[in-house]
């Protein structure tokens, strides 16, 4: 693996390929949730945000002149954060319009923006729709007041359905809510309840994440100090299993470990990640991938701004994977998908025979009942799902 000197990556160094996805990281939140390790700041004023918007468009210009960003290769756009909807309406409009000027977005068929249920307004949703956004994602997390308090999420359970109503009124048909399970103190019953509430909202897409204790988050510290107690492994697994069963029942089966959707409602941008697609990440901490080159922007607003001001990419952690590493990594990613590693698709992406590469592991783990497969590929069995990470690690090791 090659490590390039940070800050010295330029689009011209990259293989000549088109990006399929565009990610925009908006690094502002109005309060830091206790489990979160995404990069965002909470003490921003309008001036700071304005500066960000301006720099973001400038960063886009760096790409505008490159192969990666020039032609109409882009299919999906995703605004995440942070809390993108925290940007005042006019500023958001400026970014949306600015990006359309700088990139050819004519072939984009999915444009998602993450929205905070507490701050959505009809006007805002209408503006998004007007500018070409066609999918909204709401961080609902839980429908229990106590659990939201444990997570230090500052919204009320009822606000989620209100926001969804507004979104629908503004004309949005593709909607998602995020939920979190295995919250300290959460019972299976309480999780079932949140899930039912989510289903009842009828979004057709739902992401259910298991709470993870990321190093240096308040949540992890509290766990270490014994202030909160992590969910029992078996309970978490039961929640996970229940989720899969229940959502399949209502016709939103899992298409990935933590994502569930009605047929056709799958998030194409995320699918692109798991299929080894090329994408450009804008904004601090935004991650990118182009043909085996991976890097991310500095997770630091001021440093990112400085880089942009100097006309550079704020790239750090640049790595160029060898063909085999790339192939193994793709195995690890595809494994998360329900259809698993499809050899034809794999060969199409990598120009490499996945059968040969993974035959040993597949044979061994199939014997243990953790993988299933046929001529077309292999995927996690029901038992394998519970240990998907360990299996992915085996694919990486070979």
């Amino acid at each position: 693996m090659m490590q390039t000197n940070p800050g010295h990556l330029t689009p011209q160094m990259l293989p000549k390929a088109m990006a399929e996805g565009l990610y925009v990281h908006v690094p502002f939140c109005f309060h830091k949730c206790h489990y979160c390790d995404f990069y965002s700041i909470t003490r921003q004023d309008e001036g700071r945000m304005e500066k960000f918007v301006e720099r973001l468009l400038r960063e886009a210009e760096v790409w505008e002149r490159s192969v990666a960003g020039q032609s109409n290769g882009l299919r999906t756009v995703f605004f995440g954060g942070g809390t993108p909807s925290l940007l005042p309406l006019e500023m958001m409009r400026k970014i949306l319009q600015g990006l359309k000027l700088r990139f050819d977005l004519s072939a984009v068929d999915e444009w998602t923006v993450e929205v905070n249920p507490a701050t959505a307004t009809l006007e805002y949703c209408q503006m998004l729709k007007q500018e070409g956004v066609n999918r909204l994602s709401f961080g609902a997390q839980s429908f229990s007041v106590n659990e939201l308090a444990t997570l230090e999420r500052h919204h009320e359970p009822g606000q989620v359905s209100e926001s969804l109503q507004l979104a629908k009124r503004a004309g949005f048909e593709r909607l998602n809510i995020d939920l979190i399970y295995a919250i300290p103190g959460q019972t299976l019953e309480s999780w079932k309840h949140s899930l039912e509430m989510g289903v009842a909202l009828g979004t057709g897409h739902i992401s259910c994440y298991g709470l993870t204790y990321e190093p240096n988050t308040p949540m992890a510290v509290k766990k270490r100090l014994g202030v909160v107690k992590g969910a029992e492994e078996s309970l978490e697994l039961e929640m996970f299993r229940h989720t899969r069963r229940r959502l399949a029942e209502v016709g939103w089966p899992a298409y990935e470990i933590s994502n569930y959707a009605k047929k056709g409602e799958e998030c194409r941008h995320n699918l692109m990640y798991w299929r080894g697609g090329n994408y450009i990440g804008l904004g601090p901490s935004g991650a990118s991938h182009m043909e085996g080159w991976r890097w991310r922007n500095r997770p630091h607003l001021r440093e990112w701004e400085e880089a942009v001001d100097e006309g550079r990419l704020a790239a750090v952690e640049v790595e160029q994977l060898s063909a085999e590493q790339r192939a193994r990594e793709l195995g690890m990613l595809m494994l998360r998908l329900c259809r698993g590693v499809n050899y034809e698709e794999f060969a199409g992406r990598m120009g490499m025979d996945g059968r040969a590469l993974f035959s040993g592991v597949v044979q061994r783990l199939t014997k243990h009942g953790l993988l299933e497969g046929d001529q077309s590929g292999f995927w996690l069995s029901e038992g394998g799902l519970a240990v998907a990470d360990a299996i992915a690690a085996e694919l990486l090791r070979g």
């Binding site: 078996s234 978490e236 933590s258 994408y279 952690e317 953790l370 360990a390 690690a393």
Partner: protein
């Protein structure tokens, strides 16, 4: 000039090293400040652990009765594992100071060392040390010495090595009472090699005691055992710092530098003679040492096999009492089978490899040597369970027995007798020392003692009990080899030889320990203990229950991949046997499942 050669012997911590230093200081060889930081224990390890591991010989001069005496003396180790070192030291002397702590009295190694000195025919001067302490029981301890060892109580010299009290009378007694060396100055030179070290610049430095004749700078010498010849480029003495001299006369000790490059040419116990006028016979040398405890060292961490070999070569030069030979294991690859005098010795060698040579080793659980009588009438010695011949050829398996002397507070006797019985001990006798302490004697299989016996003794006696043992021979027993199967694969490095009656309990404990050490895998792992083909215990390591993160990573794939890569590497170093990763700690599990 009259010469006195003596060793200082004692139970551990009774003050040998302090007394040695006090003698150096009294003779002006070291300063008060140097006295404060023990001089003679020159290995880092010795100073840190506060124990003397290796005997070292120093020379000082002292005026007595209007005459100048040369005193050569050796501070010796007290721990039972280092008897061999003590015995080497005793052979280089005519006398010994037996130090007994005034608060602790006679202890197990006091007895053992005193008997060793008596056996070597030395003149013994009993000394009661630490009389400055308020808790000193000087009179009682003198009586103990008389009762247990037979030295008249009134002959004990009372000293405080710490304050210097009584040191002059002690030196006077040394000069008056110890016999001078008996060697013949006019005979061809014969010098006994009792120690050696390797110096990167000067090659092997050889420590000798000149028995007959003399050694001179520039002299051509021959090592009689290996028949190699060299020219002496430097002669010196430790005073206690190395000081060059022109000659080492009869009865004196010192070191030789002679551009000896090959470690293997120098053998402890060999005789140095004059190459031009050689002696007819070499000195008797030392009894061959019997290593009693064996384990494997495999290169660990970044250490390569060759580096390990070179380091052991060098260490062996300095400590001839451990042995090693190449070994390979299915589970651990290429390494060495090493023999030691005891468990502490094993620990010390491993620590010295790490500290002095930067070597990392993976160590298997120690076992004792077994004697196997075969059906064809022959007898073989094995020191690894995997070497056990096919059962159909084995007539009987014999294991080493020891005579164990324990000195205990009377209220600890019950607990220790129970422990000894549990460990297949054969009761011999009890004897009182004064009113509150008891000498308890058992014959025991060494295998039952090597792991945690000492710790158990200490905890059963609140730290007051002491022990010492002597090898007394091999005895046959109902011994069987127990194999350990991990996921149906036999792991050679985990096999043990055990007593049939203990096998099942032992097997069960071992499997429980293994279960703790081996991480859960993606599949269930059966663990089995077997004798021959018969399974006598089993355990199962359940498969991993949950290992999936349903987290939102967005596009930060690198992070996800790195986490998984880390997960797969794990924290522990692993050896893969079949499809199971066994951490190295597991190979020591045998040890802790001992009782």
């Amino acid at each position: 000039m009259p010469i006195r050669n003596f060793s200082i012997i004692a139970h551990i911590d009774h003050g040998k090293s302090t007394l040695s230093d006090r003698l150096l200081m009294r003779a002006g060889a070291i300063t008060e400040r140097e006295f404060q930081s023990q001089m003679l224990d020159d290995m880092d390890l010795e100073r840190e652990r506060g124990i003397t591991i290796k005997a070292s010989a120093v020379t000082v001069f002292h005026e007595h009765g209007g005459e100048k005496f040369m005193l050569n003396f050796i501070d010796t180790p007290g721990h039972v594992d280092f008897h061999y070192e003590v015995q080497k030291a005793l052979q280089a002397c005519e006398g010994a100071i037996l130090v007994v702590d005034a608060t602790q009295g006679v202890q197990a190694q006091t007895v053992a060392n005193a008997y060793a000195a008596i056996e070597a025919g030395l003149e013994i001067i009993p000394v009661i040390n630490k009389i400055d302490l308020p808790s000193a029981r000087t009179v009682e301890v003198a009586e103990e010495i008389e009762q247990v060892l037979g030295f008249p109580a009134e002959e004990c010299i009372l000293v405080s090595a710490k304050t210097g009290q009584g040191i002059d009378p002690l030196i006077a007694t040394l000069c008056d009472k110890l016999p001078p060396p008996k060697g013949k100055p006019d005979q061809p030179a014969r010098a006994l090699i009792f120690d050696s070290i390797y110096d990167d610049y000067r090659g092997v430095i050889v420590y000798v005691r000149v028995v007959d004749g003399e050694l001179k700078k520039g002299m051509k010498i021959r090592l009689m055992g290996t028949n190699r010849e060299y020219q002496i480029s430097d002669l010196g003495k430790l005073m206690p710092r190395p000081r060059q001299v022109e000659r080492i006369g009869t009865g004196e000790v010192g070191y030789i530098v002679a551009a000896i490059k090959d470690l293997h040419d120098v053998r402890i116990g060999d005789t140095v003679t004059d190459a031009l006028a050689p002696a007819a016979e070499p000195l008797p040398g030392y009894k061959p040492i019997q290593q009693m405890v064996y384990c494997d060292f495999y290169p660990g961490g970044k250490t390569q096999y060759e580096e390990l070999r070179d380091a052991m070569d060098r260490l062996q030069l300095n400590d001839s009492s451990f042995s090693f030979q190449p070994e390979s294991s299915d589970a651990l690859g290429f390494g060495f089978r090493c023999g030691f005098l005891g468990l502490l010795h094993m620990e010390i060698i491993q620590e010295r490899l790490e500290r002095e040579f930067g070597i990392e080793v993976v160590q298997t659980a120690p076992t004792v040597t077994y004697e196997i009588a075969l059906t064809d009438g022959s007898i073989v010695r094995i020191d690894a369970p995997s070497e056990l011949p096919n059962p159909t050829q084995v007539l009987e398996i014999r294991e080493p027995y020891i005579l164990m002397n324990m000195i205990l507070p009377a209220d600890g006797v019950g607990a220790m007798m129970k422990l000894c019985e549990d460990r297949r001990g054969v009761y011999k006798k009890t004897e009182y020392i004064g009113a509150t302490r008891v000498i308890l004697v058992y014959e025991m299989p060494l295998a039952e003692v090597i792991y945690d016996f000492y710790d158990r003794l200490k905890s059963a006696t609140r730290g007051y009990g002491t022990m010492d043992y002597d090898f007394i021979g091999f005895r046959s027993g109902e011994l069987v080899k127990m194999d350990i199967l991990v996921n149906a694969d036999r792991v050679d490095a985990l096999s043990v030889i055990v007593h049939r009656d203990h096998a099942e309990a032992r097997g069960r404990k071992l499997l429980v320990r293994l279960k703790q050490e081996i991480d859960r895998h993606l599949f269930e792992i059966p663990l089995q203990a077997a004798i021959g083909g018969k399974i006598i215990a089993r355990e199962t390591i359940k498969s991993v229950g949950k290992n999936v993160t349903a987290k939102c990573y967005g596009g930060d794939i690198t992070r996800k991949r790195k986490l998984l890569e880390k997960q797969k590497e794990g924290k522990k170093r692993m050896k893969r046997v079949g499809s199971v990763d066994i951490p190295q700690e597991a190979f020591m599990a045998i040890l802790e499942s001992g009782d």
